[in-house]
């Protein structure tokens, strides 16, 4: 927020403005269309009517990183793709978030030992906010991860001084 960046004390005005800005952000997390392997099928299921990610305002899958807030890394990341992922993440405008969906994106998954080209977790390439376990995770698990991300955004401060918790 440029000029007001995290420099105000807590008071009724700033907390309410912060709450409003956070609410705006968490209610319209637009993910990037980005599926790498079988987890992407579950991600598509989340987008469909039965699970309906649109209930959380995150249903607008964008085809360009420049319009996206959230990168759902859904699937196996190999070294050839890792550089592209870094590049796409760098192209996303701040504030930006990343979800590592499934065992492969979290830590290499079944390819951990013998996968010669699989990156052992996408957190070696981009900073990850939420990890989702499963191989692949159920659609409900992805929704749970999204809600965790919303909690994280709700706890952040845009114009207030950040709350230091131990």
């Amino acid at each position: 927020m440029g000029l007001f960046e995290k420099q105000f004390e807590d008071n009724v005005l700033t907390t309410n403005v912060d709450w409003l800005l956070n609410w705006c952000r968490l209610s319209s997390i637009w993910p990037m269309t980005f599926g790498l392997a079988c987890c992407a099928i579950e991600m598509m299921a989340v987008g469909c009517a039965h699970h309906d990610i649109d209930r959380f305002g995150a249903g607008a899958f964008r085809a360009s990183p420049r319009q996206a807030d959230l990168m759902i890394v859904a699937g196996t990341v190999n070294f050839k793709m890792a550089e592209r992922i870094k590049r796409l993440y760098d192209q996303m405008p701040s504030p930006k978030y990343a979800i590592a969906m499934g065992a492969c994106a979290t830590g290499g998954g079944p390819y951990y030992k013998y996968g010669y080209t699989v990156v052992k977790g996408v957190d070696r390439v981009v900073p990850v906010d939420v990890y989702i376990a499963g191989c692949p995770p159920r659609p409900e698990a992805l929704l749970e991860g999204l809600m965790k991300l919303q909690e994280k955004i709700q706890a952040s401060s845009v114009i207030r001084k950040p709350i230091h918790t131990v």
Binding site: A82, E83, T117, V119, K120, V125
Partner: protein, 172 residues
């Protein structure tokens, strides 16, 4: 045509490079070490003459193996000095199949490319080349197909050592 018929035909037209054949067999009850062999019968061919052999089988009117269904390699063990080249041939007209194998020494893994005979061999040979370090002489496009261009080593070899890092990303 069954395998015996195909093999007899290969022998009678004197297809180049044939060194033998092998068929699945039952284990020998007297000899405990003889476990027998399962799987398909195959024809063993000299790798340096594989393209000629494939061309001969493609053009023969009663064999007509006009489709190369697959070309792969295997590395059976670290001690063994040979790579196996496995070729699966299919005849759509005659409705029969044939497995062809070649033994290629690891120290000098160079063999002629089969692209001039079967154009579908291009990608299969590129994959074999990057995964096993086999050089196919006369291949029109010998780049890597799956691995990055600057990848070091051949991952499906038994003596492959995992890299420490690739472009600053840790591999361990």
């Amino acid at each position: 045509m069954n395998f015996q018929g195909i093999y007899d035909r290969i022998r009678s037209i004197q297809a180049p490079g044939v060194t033998g054949m092998d068929e699945p067999r039952e284990p020998n009850p007297q000899d405990k070490k003889d476990k027998g062999r399962s799987g398909d019968p195959y024809v063993l061919v000299d790798p340096q003459r594989l393209p000629e052999f494939l061309e001969c089988l493609r053009d023969d009117p009663s064999l007509k193996f006009e489709l190369m269904a697959d070309l792969t390699a295997t590395d059976p063990s670290k001690e063994d000095g040979y790579l196996w080249i496995n070729v699966q041939l299919l005849s759509l007209v005659r409705k029969h199949r044939l497995a062809v194998k070649c033994l290629l020494p690891k120290e000098n893994a160079v063999m002629p490319s089969s692209v001039s005979v079967h154009r579908g061999a291009q990608w299969a040979e590129r994959e074999c080349s990057e995964m096993y370090g086999i050089t196919f002489e006369g291949h029109p496009d010998p780049r890597n197909i799956l691995l990055p261009e600057d990848w070091i080593g051949h991952p499906l070899r038994k003596d492959y050592e995992f890299p420490e890092e690739y472009h600053g990303i840790s591999c361990k």
